[in-house]
Each structure stands twice: as C-alpha cells, then as structure tokens.
C-alpha cells in the first residue's frame, strides 16, 4: 500500500498527468481541508488550527476528532463533486445538521452552497508539505492542496479495512490512510470520468492493483448475495418454469431507473441506437454531427462502438443466471459512463495517439482474455453497488430535486417550426403508420384469450381479476366481454374517461341494474343500498369491467374503498386493468383483501389509443377539438341572437382582460349594444337571456353587470362531461381558449387561429 502511494506520487511528479486517484484525492481534499479548517477554527480558534499544521506528530488524534460518523462520511463522500461541498463544523455538529437540510429540499441546499462558496473564497494557500498533490491537480483547484490530501486520506481511512502509512521524508510525518475502495471507484466512475479520459498509461497499472484488493472483498458480497437469494428462491422467483423471464428481474433493477447527468446523453444514445445493427447511418442530425462527420478514425470508432455494445450487453443480459445478472446489471450507470466517455473520445481531436491508447485500454478491459484485468468492471460495480444502493438512491433523489437549475437545452417546439398536431390529424397519421409487430401482438393476445374461461371460473369462485402489463388492455377486456358476457348483466367502466366518478359508476348500478329511481345523499349511502339489494336478491349477478382502475379520477382513496367494497360482494364480479407503475400503491392490505385480486400479466404492447385520446398531451394542440365539440352542445341549444349576446359580452370582457378591476359592462350599456346589433328588442328579452346564461352557469351578475364566469368554461364539464384541460388558472390558456371558442363558433369560415 505504501508502495502504491509512493509509486503514484512519483508518477504524478514525473509525469505531471493526474491519475484518477489524484483526482479523487483532490476532490475530497478541497472539502476536507475546508471542513477541517472550519471545524478547527470553530472549535478551538485559529491558534489551534495553526498548531495542527505545526505539529504533525499528532494528526491521528486530530483527525479522529473530526471524522464524521461512518454513515455520514459515506454519504458525504458520495456526494463529493456533484453537490456543493457540505460545510460543517465537526462531526457532531454536521451530522445532525445535514439531515434537515436535505429534507428541507432546494432551499437548504442552496444555502449550503452559498456558504461553501464563501468558504472557498477565503481559502488560503496550503502549507508546502501537501504540494505534491496540489501540483499535479488540474481538477478542483490547487488551493485545496495539502491539508486536503491529508484529510482525504484520513476520511477514507475510516471505512477502509486496509490502510497504509506513508511517511513523508520532509520531516513532517504525516499519516496517510487509504481511501475506501468504493469511494475511489465511485469517483473514478462518475465524477472523475472526464479527467480519467485524460490520463492514459497509469490507468492500467492502477486497475491491476485494484483487482487484488477487490477480489478479497467480493467474497463477502457473494455471501450476502446467497443469503438474500434464499428468500427470493423461497418465494419462487427462481422457480424453474418461468414462462417469461420478466419475473426474474430483481427489484433493484426496476426501482433504479438510471439517470446519468450529461445533457446530451440522449442524443448520443440515439445515435448509438441508430447505429447498433451495423447499418452505418450517415445522418446529418444536428445533435451529433461531430461524431459522425469526423470519421477519419473510423476504425477506432467502430472499435469503441463495439465496446459500447459490449457494455450494453451486460445491462440486459437475459441469458445469464439471475444472480449473476443482478450483479452485473444493476450499476450499469458505471458502464454507461464508461461507454459515454469512450463514445465521446472522438470529440477530442488534439491527441489521437492518446486516444488510441484509451480505446485499447478500454477494450482490453472488456476482453475476457486478460482475465485479471477483465474482472475489474464487475467487481467495481459489486462493491459500489451493494453497500451504497440505498443511501445512493435517496441521495440521488434529493440531489435531483435540490437544484432548481436544469441542465437541458433551451430549444422549444416553436423553434422547430413544427405545427402542433391536433387530435384528429394525430389520429389520422397514426392510422397511416402500420402497427409494428402486429403478428406477435396477435399471438400474445391469443395466448391471453385462452384464459377467458379460467377467468370466468375464478370470478365465480369469489376472486376478482386484475390485469397488468404494458400495452392497452382495452381490446382484450372488450373481447372478454363479447365472448363471455353476452347474456349477462354487465357494466363497463371506462376509467380513463376524464370525468368518470365513483358516483357515476354507482349511479349506473342503481339506476340501470337495480332500476332504482331516486337519489342518495352520499356515495356511501348508495353503496349501502346496493350491498343490501345484492344481499337480498341472490339471483342478482353483475359483472363489472373497469378499464384503467388506476386512472386519475378513480385512484383516490375513497373511490377505491367504495369500489373495493363493491367488488367484495359475492355476486359482483370485477375484472379490471391497471397501467400506472405505481398503481398497486393504491391499495392497502384492507383494500386488497376486499378486492381479493388474482393478478394476471397481460402485456399486449398494443397502443393505448382510447386511453390516451383524452389525455391532453403537451404536444397536442392545447385548444383541443374535444373541448370545442363539447361546447357545441351548449351553443347549439342557443338561438342565433343568444349566441350574439354571449359573443358581445365575451368580446368586451376579453378587451378588458388586463384590467383586474374591470367592473363589467353595465346592464344599460349592454342593452344598448345589443339593441344596436339587433340582438334584442326589449330589456326584458335581454334579462331573460341573461337569466338563461346564468342558469347555464355561463355568467354571473355583479352589481347589475353581467360577467362571463371563468367557470363558464368549466361548465363544459358539467354539460358534456368530457374534457379536462390543465391550467385553467393560466390566463394565456384562457384567452386562447376564448379566441378559439369565439372564432370556431361565430366565424366558422375562418377556423384556423
């Protein structure tokens, strides 16, 4: 270990290129230096701080006093470089402080950052004994120098089973502990990724050394794995005959949806995907022109591509046994970052030779021939992955949500000069494009259709059935209905319908199934009534099909409770589908036992045509032809004159939109206007008309001034039960809506806005 340090330091002195360890040390170092200084200054004043530098014989005690408790330190180390450095006094203070800060969200985070910046500004040059690190560093700044190195070593020593003592010859005996491997690896893999690219030769050397250490560690990991697997196996996840390998995916893979942080990653992946099958696409895509146009080193390029493919392979290897795959696949973030920098190698134009080296090094990492070296990437992952998985996830989340800064490009759809499609054209366009893999989807569907009779049986035995999986289950349920429920009383609920409510479901049961006329005070009463009726009359049977039980309108706690109670009736047979990834969270134990679900996976891959047609996608024209069509119901019922009156009123109101204290058009003025436009002939008529509007909840009257209600738009809900437009409160949308509204109905010849 000692040798290693020395070797590294010599290299750095000689070669003036930084190895990744250096990068890491510097990263850590800056923070630790700051923390130490601050802690010391806080606790004992500046004199104490200087004494520390002056008396290096006792560094251990010093450092021991200031190292944070283990979990904290680990978290802290993970965060290095990406978050602003967390500043804390000593361990006792900083550990509790970091909790609330984190939970406090973005504001807390920012405060920390500001403080850190100030700290940085006041940082003084380091004493000379630390320069050996500082000199070589190009990364986080040379000011973090020596104390940093020391501190980093000390902080690392906490978690590291193996530590080394390195004596500096310069009289200042300094204790250097080795940093924990996972922390180092973490920084190699993601933070220092960019720097790593710059160094070439030392990489292999160091990697080899790491291998030795990591091998010893990996045994424990394997042990843990075995234990974990016992439970998994007991649950039968590893059961022999899995018809789909889907079930063999471990939870960690699913729950960690990876998020690398480079902004142009998507484009890279896109081009990568585009090239995957080997068709060399000369796409003149704006996003990755450099990569493709610069193909003088095409041979190298392809090799790096291969590397990428190989690393990809690891991610989703379905043939590897479960345990192995889990191990390989989970931290593919690292692989990704690797492939990332190998991919972006081509961007570096200046030194081609060095690049060649990097690529060869990388490919040698991946080739199984060099067994020792090749084992590095997986073991790396293993170590990092297991221990930090949980804290890591949490960390990531808060990190992602603490900054308000968003690293995305500023392009907008407008700049694309792309007209927004409306629902109809979208539909037409999609009609035109053939459905991919229709045959396979059909096969899947047939497979599921063979289950119909089983479903019927199980429904009758008191179970209810829930379908999950990717793809619309609408057609499948529809087929089920047609083939099995022809002669039965059944109720189909389109849960995706934006204005569906439990109440409407209950109403249709009471009114149409039970032929009950009358209203109920609350859904609970209604439910009670239904339950009573079903219990009294055992011949009553009802099949309920619910498409999208997890839709926006039905996923509420109360709705689910009512539906669950309904489904628990022995003569109500419920078959439903869910799509949302978090749908199962709707149900607690009590509801689940009421529902008495049997789960069936029905992945159909068919497009969610019906389900998304109501959704107001960002890309679909906001005005929404649906909204308009629903308004026709209101407006068609009006006479021509009435429409004119409404229009007049609306116009005035729009003109004064910007004036918040606009009192409205006084009745007399309004009457005058209407008269002039030959819309009314007496104020009685006008009053009657306004009353009608008011009854339709289109306007309100304020001090004799009729004002169109904003809810007039909302009234469309009640009348047509069709549309849910987001952002009512948004004046822009409102205005747009009004314009469209007016133009579409009063100037029909000029439909485009």
């Amino acid at each position: 270990m000692l040798n290693k340090y020395r070797a590294v330091s010599e290299q750095s002195c000689v070669g003036c290129q930084l190895t990744f360890i250096y990068v890491f040390i510097c990263n850590l170092g800056v923070r630790w230096a700051r923390q130490l200084r601050r802690g010391a200054a806080k606790a004992l004043g500046p004199a104490a701080a200087s004494r520390r530098h002056g008396n290096p014989g006792r560094p251990r005690a010093w450092l021991a006093a200031e190292v944070p408790p283990a979990p904290f330190s680990r978290r802290w180390q993970e965060g290095v470089g990406r978050r602003g450095p967390r500043v804390g006094g000593d361990a006792r203070q900083s550990a509790p402080r970091c909790g609330p800060q984190r939970w406090g969200g973005s504001r807390g985070g920012r405060r920390v950052r500001v403080r850190a910046a100030r700290e940085r500004a006041s940082a003084s040059p380091r004493p000379p004994q630390g320069r050996w690190v500082a000199r070589g560093s190009q990364g986080p700044g040379p000011r973090g120098g020596g104390g940093g190195a020391r501190a980093a070593a000390a902080g690392g020593g906490l978690g590291a089973p193996a530590m080394s003592q390195a004596e500096r010859k310069g009289g200042a005996a300094l204790e250097v502990k080795f940093v924990p491997d996972e922390a180092v690896l973490r920084h190699i893999a993601d933070d220092a990724g960019i720097k790593v690219r710059k160094d070439k030769t030392p990489l292999t050397v160091n990697v080899k050394r790491f291998v030795k250490k990591l091998d010893t560690l990996s045994d424990d990991e394997a042990q843990e794995f075995l234990e974990e697997k016992d439970y998994v196996a007991a649950l039968g996840i590893c059961a022999q005959d899995l018809m789909e390998n889907g079930s063999s995916v471990g939870g960690s893979e699913v729950y960690s949806f990876q998020t690398p942080k480079r902004s142009n990653k998507m484009a890279e992946l896109a081009s990568e995907l585009a090239q995957t099958p080997g068709q060399s696409v000369a796409s003149d895509h704006s996003e990755c022109p450099e990569k493709i146009t610069k193909t003088p080193q095409s041979s190298k390029h392809s090799s790096s591509n291969k590397v990428q493919q190989k690393s990809k392979k690891n991610d989703f290897m379905s043939t590897t046994p479960y345990r192995l795959r889990k191990r390989l696949a989970a931290p593919d973030a690292y692989l990704e970052s690797e492939s990332e920098y190998s991919a972006s190698c081509s961007e570096e134009e200046d030194d081609e030779e060095t690049q060649k080296e990097v690529i060869t090094v990388l490919s040698s990492l991946k080739t199984p021939a060099k067994a020792k070296v090749a084992s590095t990437p997986p073991s790396r992952k293993k170590v990092t992955k297991k221990k930090d998985k949980m804290s890591n996830l949490v960390e990531e989340y808060f990190e992602a949500h603490s900054t308000s800064k968003v690293l995305t490009s500023d392009r907008t759809l407008q700049k694309l000069r792309k007209r927004r499609l409306n629902q109809q054209t979208l539909h037409d366009l999609l009609e035109k494009s053939p459905l991919a893999y229709a045959a396979e989807i059909e096969e899947l569907n047939q497979q599921y259709e063979s289950l119909f009779s089983k479903w019927m049986l199980q429904l009758h035995l008191g179970f209810n059935i829930v379908l999950y999986g990717l793809g619309s289950k609408h057609d499948l349920l529809e087929k089920f209905r047609i083939s099995m429920l022809q002669d039965t009383v059944h109720l189909v609920v389109n849960g995706y319908f934006p204005s569906i409510t439990v109440r409407s479901i209950l109403n249709s049961i009471t009114e149409e199934v039970l032929d009950h006329i009358g209203t109920f005070r609350s859904p609970l009463d209604q439910l009670e009534f239904i339950i009573k009726r079903f219990k009294e009359d055992s011949s009553l049977e009802l099949y309920v099909l619910i498409h999208n039980l997890d839709s926006q309108m039905l996923r509420g706690e109360r709705s689910q409770q009512i539906l669950a109670q309904l489904s628990s009736l022995p003569s109500v047979y419920l078959i439903a589908s869910i799509d949302h990834i978090n749908a199962p969270l709707m149900w607690d134990q009590a509801k689940q036992s009421l529902y008495n679900w049997l789960w069936y996976e029905t992945t159909t891959f068919s497009p969610y045509v019906e389900e998304t047609s109501y959704e107001n996608s960002l890309l679909v024209q906001q005005s929404g032809s649906l909204a308009l069509s629903s308004l026709t119901h209101v407006l068609r019922s009006l006479t021509l004159n009435a429409r004119g009156i409404f229009r007049l009123l609306a116009q005035y109101q729009l003109e004064n939109k910007d004036n918040p204290s606009y009192p409205g058009l006084s009745f007399q003025d309004f009457y005058q206007q209407c008269r002039e436009a030959f819309l009314v002939n007496s104020d009685l008529t006008l009053r009657a008309q306004l009353t009608e509007f008011r009854d339709h909840k289109l306007i309100r009257t304020k001090r004799e001034c009729p004002l169109i209600l904003e809810e007039a738009l909302n009234a469309t809900y009640k009348l047509s039960l069709l549309v849910a437009i987001r952002g009512w409160e948004n004046a822009e949308v409102l205005q747009l809506f009004f314009i469209v509204f007016l133009s579409a109905y009063f100037y029909r010849d000029n439909e485009t806005t």
Partner: protein, 674 residues
C-alpha cells in the same frame, strides 16, 4: 382446455366444502378465545351493576381493549363472529362501527342507532336534529340528541326484549370500534364524553379493536377522556398460532385429498410471513391452489375421498388412462416392474386401472402413516434446543417433503441431540408419541406402539439404576428453567459434561444403552414412514406443485413486468428483429420502448425537442438512410405522431408528467441509482 367434465363437476363443489370447513376451524378457534373474553366482560359488567355508586361517581365506561395484531384483514372475520357470539349469548344490542363509516359524531350516532335498532335509520330523526342545529350550537345539539336518543332507546327496549330469556335482565349495549386507530380523535372523544354522561342510565360497554398496541388509546385520547374509560386488555390469538392451527387441521390430515407440495406451501407461508400475516390470504392462496389443481391437472378427478376413488377409476376414459401413463412418477414405477407387467400396464386399460387403484390405496396409507409419524418427530424436535428441524410442525413438514429428511445435516444434529436427552424428557416424549399414534387412524402402528410402550416400561425399571445421577442435574435445571436461553445454555453444558464423562468412563450405563436404542428406533420409524411425497407413484394426482402459478397470481410484480416489457420487448414479442445481441434493446423495438430508453438518459427534466429529435434519429435509422433525409429540424409528421403517442403512453404509465418549469419540458417521475 384439458378439463374433463367430471372434474368440472368435482371442483365446483369441492372448494366450497373445504372452505367452509376451514372457516369453521377458524371460528372454533376463535370461539374458544372469545368465551373467556365474554366471561370476563360479563363479570366486569356485573361488577358494574353491583358497585353502582362507585361507578356512578367516576362515570367510567367499562372498556375492553382487544389487541388483535397487525393482520388487519382478518379482523373483519373476528369481529363478525364476536358480534354473533355476543348476540347469541349476552345481549341483542351489539353495534359494530368502522372508522370509514364514521367521519363525524353524527354519522357515528346514525350508524350506531341503525345497528342497535336493527334497521336503517331514516332521515326524520336527523331532520329534527338538523333543524335544531340550525338554531343553536351544534355541539350542544348533538349532545342533546344523543342522549335523548339513548334515553329513548333505553326506555323503549326493555319492554320489547324482556321476553327473550337467554339475555340478561337489562342487557348491556356493546359498541365495538373495529379499527380504533383510524377513528378521528374528535369523534371518539365526543362519543366517550357524551356516553359517559349517561353511563348510569345506560349499561354501555365499549370494545376497541386495536391492531398495534394498547398504548394507542392513550396516544389518541387525552387524559381527560381516557380517564373516563375503565380499560381492560385482551389479547387475541396471534396470527401465527392461527396459521398453525389451520395448517394442522387442514394440511396435516388425511381428511382432504388435495395436498400441497413443499414449494407451494413454502410460497404460501412466505407470503404470510413476509407480506401480510393474514390468515385469510393464506386461505385464499389455498383456495387458489385447489382451483388451479382441479383446473389444470386432468387427472385431478382421482383426487377425492377414498370411497369414491374406485368408482372414478372405473369410469376413466382411454385418454385419461393415457394421461396416467404419461405421468413421470408412473413411468418411473413402470420401469421398475418386470417386463411382462410393463407391457400390460402400457397396453391394457383394465390392468392399469387395477394398478392405479392399488397405488392410490398405497398413497392413502402412506399419508395415514406419514402425518402421525411427522407429529411424533415434531414432539422430539420441538423440545430440543435450537430446534434443529424447525420449531413449527410446518417447517418440519416442509423439510420432510423436500427430500429425504434423514439425509440432511439437521437430522443428524437432531439425532445427536436426542441421544443426549435426559430420562424425564425422553419418557414424556415417548408418552406423547404413544398418544399420537394410538389416536391416529393408521393401522400399522400397533407394533410401533407396542415397542414404544416396551421402552417406557424399561425406563421405569431403570429407576434405581442411573436416575440418581440425573437428580442433581434436574434440580439445577429447574433453577434455570425460567430463562429459556439460560436453560438451553446450561443444558448444553451439562450434556457436554455428561458426554465427556461417559467418554471417560467408556462404559455406557443401562440408561444410555436404552436411550440409544430408543433413538435408533425412532430413526428407523422416520426412515420408514417419512419418505418425501414425490418419491411416491402417482403423487401428481394428489399434490399441487406449480408454485410459480401461485406466486404469479397472488404476489405479482407489475413493475417488473412493465420494466421487462420496456427494456426487453423480445421477452414478449418473439420476433427475430427484436432479438438483438445479448438481449439489449434494438432500434427496431416498439416506439414506446425506444422513447423509454431515451428518456432514461435524461435528468429530472426532459426537453421534448431533444427527445423528439433523438427519437426520429433512431427511427429514421431503422427505416434506412436512403429515405429522403429530412432536413435537420424538420421531422416527419408520422414520426412526430408516433412520438406523441409514445410520450403520452409514457405519461399514462406514470413515467413522466408535464412540467411548467420550462417550456416544452416534461418532468421525469422516476429517478434512479447512479
């Protein structure tokens, strides 16, 4: 598909029978538990009537806090039978209240009265109440109405119900709060305060169903309110014991022809232990097993009671005979037969039927012997330190089903420990075994019982000889008996010492000889009877063993399915085009997969334009470079439409949502570990 009409008929009535049986079991168990509870609450009430003055002063409501455990789903059943029992034996006035029905005190009173008067309370009573509330303070009115209703009720009822002799003179009013924790504090407080005002007029008893711990009462109610309650704590049977009873009564008997294989049982037990502690869910799983078995296994016709087997075998069709011949266990059996018999078995249906009859009889006998011996073995293992083969009989059962139990290490250690048992324990165990075997229906146990009894008499004869050396040990053990761990520890030390001593002396005492003999005998019995079921011929007929089906339907993982479908569509769509090397996603994947894959590369916000461009890059690459290359910022309409569809599908699936933070951006809803 393979469903024979006979089995349809069969399973229609079959599960029902078992289900009711199970529920009866449950209830029986419950009643035992409740009778004591009732008696106590009775006495409590009587106390109340006798010590009238005292009660009146303190105005305390007698309350039973019933701690039921976290398996909330089972509580329903418990309460239903509780109220039934109460209604049958104590009082006609039982009201069951649930938190979700009682958001306010008004609803609570409505529900309460509705249940007490055994009818649906119509509105007029509340109309009065409402009118009044309009005039004055709501709280006062509630108070007023409440007590007026109570009084009204109380004076009304005795005249009506006095005729029924099984109830008391003035039957108490029992109000059961099913889920005490989820009631709002306000409602509970109001109710308690109001009713404590009338406790001297109204014999009210409250029952709180508590899932967590009795401390919650004090957490929920302020001291001023909780001091109005005179709380007594009752602990219900723990769900684990419940499960053991059910397993004992249903699975470990020959009564039910259907058996569960080791894996299936393990899955069910694991769901119980790791997920919900719900006995009802366990029963549900068992029901599913029954349905699945009779639905999928065409030969499950033969899975029935002994008396019917013969009839059914005779009615087997040729196809069904062929099915039998295809059974792996049967083929194994055939291979071990002499060749002429092999031919006969494979060609003549008649002979096959005879053999099957024979084999099924064998299987039945095997079960008859298996369970008593299993119980005997459990008597031994459950009293040994560290429970080498599991504390519960279900664990032992699983171990025995899994493979030959005597080949396992645990069994070895069991034997070793058994060889160190002291006389006293050994004798009691043997006595228990004798009891079990005598009460069992198995016919082969006469010999075994005799042998065991012989051992027992021998032990008695030994009395003078070596029992002396054990007396001091026994006394020492007594000292440590209270702390189990200490006891075990000491036990170990003592046995080790003993072992050493005996090694040193190298001479076995008579007792030790006898002990070895006993253990060897038990070993031989185990080897004889506890053969794992899948070594038996035709076990497929009786055992349900597709555990994966069970897990799939009961313990599904929708997210995993979604994840797989998005990441690796080849799992579902068996198209060669999708089969990219190493199972990674290819660019020919369905749109949604590509869009999903691309979005994984983004941070918290996703720029739609970038996304769209990336998507069109991928898609155009698939369609071939020759297609008239669209200008850099103009995307084909169809591709645009496909993109919109895919994005809105992702939105439906909950991966993204629109964001107002930045124009033309969507926010990711999943984040991940990197």
């Amino acid at each position: 598909a393979h469903l024979s009409p006979c089995s349809i008929f069969w399973y229609e009535d079959r599960p029902e029978g078992q289900k009711t049986q199970i529920e009866e079991d449950l209830n029986k168990q419950l009643f035992d538990n409740l009778v004591s509870f009732l008696r106590r609450s009775h006495s409590e009430f009587q106390e109340k009537t006798t010590e009238w003055n005292c009660q009146m002063k303190s105005r305390e409501i007698p309350t039973a806090a019933l701690v039921l455990g976290v398996n909330v789903t089972d509580h329903d059943l418990t309460f239903r039978s509780l109220s039934e029992v109460l209604q049958n034996r104590v009082t006609p006035y039982v009201a069951l209240l649930q938190a979700k029905d009682c958001p306010g005190i008004k609803n609570l009173m409505q529900k309460l009265l509705g249940q007490l008067m055994n009818c649906y309370v119509d509105q007029n009573m509340y109309k009065i109440c409402r009118k009044k509330s309009a005039m004055s303070l709501w709280s006062i009115i509630t108070l007023y109405t409440c007590d007026s209703i109570f009084l009204f009720y109380y004076f009304e009822t005795p005249s009506k119900k006095r005729t029924s002799s099984r109830h008391w003179q003035s039957p108490p009013v029992v109000v059961i709060f099913k889920d005490m924790e989820s009631f709002t504090t306000k409602v509970l407080q109001d109710f308690i305060v109001i009713s404590s005002q009338h406790i001297h007029e109204l014999p009210l008893v409250l029952v709180f169903g508590i899932a967590t711990s009795p401390m919650i009462i004090h957490g929920l109610l302020p001291h001023s309110v909780s001091s109005l309650l005179c709380i007594e704590l009752f602990q219900s049977l723990s769900c684990k014991e419940h499960l053991s009873t059910i397993i004992d009564k249903v699975l470990l008997t020959t009564q039910f022809p259907l058996k569960l294989s080791e894996k299936v049982l393990q899955v069910l037990i694991n769901i119980f232990l790791y997920h919900d502690f719900s006995v009802q869910n366990f029963i549900k799983g068992f029901q599913l097993c029954i349905v699945e078995h009779f639905y999928t296994q065409p030969l499950s016709v033969l899975c029935c009671h002994q008396e019917e087997v013969k009839k059914r075998i005779n009615s087997l069709s040729h196809n069904q005979c062929e099915n039998i011949r295809r059974l792996p266990s049967f083929r194994r059996y055939v291979e071990n037969q002499p060749s002429e018999k092999q031919i006969a078995l494979l060609t003549t249906d008649g002979f096959l039927k005879e053999t099957v009859q024979q084999l099924l009889d064998d299987l039945n006998v095997y079960h008859e012997n298996y369970f008593p011996v299993l119980r005997c073995l459990h008597v031994f293992t459950s009293s040994l330190p560290k429970y080498p083969l599991g504390k519960q009989i279900r664990e032992l059962h699983c171990a025995c089903l899994e493979n030959r139990v005597w080949e396992t290490e645990e069994y070895e250690s069991f034997l070793q420990l058994a060889r160190m048992l002291n006389k006293c324990d050994l004798v009691t165990m043997l006595q228990k075994c004798v009891e079990i075997l005598v009460s069992s229906p198995g016919k082969e146990f006469d010999k075994t019982v005799e042998k065991l009894k012989e051992f027992l008499t021998q032990f008695q004869k030994l009395e003078g000889g070596c029992a002396l050396s054990y007396v001091p040990l026994q006394i020492k053990l007594k000292l440590f008996y209270n702390g189990t761990n200490g006891y075990h520890f000491l036990w170990y030390i003592l046995t080790l010492l003993e072992l050493k001593e005996s090694r040193r002396s190298k001479k076995l005492t008579k007792f030790e000889m006898l002990r070895f003999e006993v253990v060897d005998y038990i070993d031989s019995v185990v080897r004889n009877y506890l053969v794992p079921a899948d070594h038996k011929t035709l076990h497929e007929i009786v055992y349900f063993n597709t555990a994966s089906v069970l897990r799939e339907h009961l313990n599904a993982a929708p997210r995993v399915a979604l994840h797989t479908a998005l990441n690796n569509p080849y799992c579902y769509l068996k198209s060669q085009a999708l089969r990219s090397d190493g199972g990674s996603i290819s660019n020919k994947a369905p749109d949604i997969c590509i869009v999903y894959k691309l979005h994984l590369e983004c941070g918290r916000l996703i720029n739609l334009v970038d996304w769209l461009e990336a998507f069109s890059t991928v898609v155009t690459a698939v369609e071939g470079p020759n297609a008239d290359a669209p200008s850099s910022d103009q995307v084909d309409d169809v591709i645009h439409a496909r993109f919109i569809r895919a994005v809105s599908e992702l939105e439906l699936l909950g991966f993204i949502k629109p964001s107002k933070q930045k124009t033309d951006h969507v926010a990711r809803l999943t984040w991940g570990g990197c």
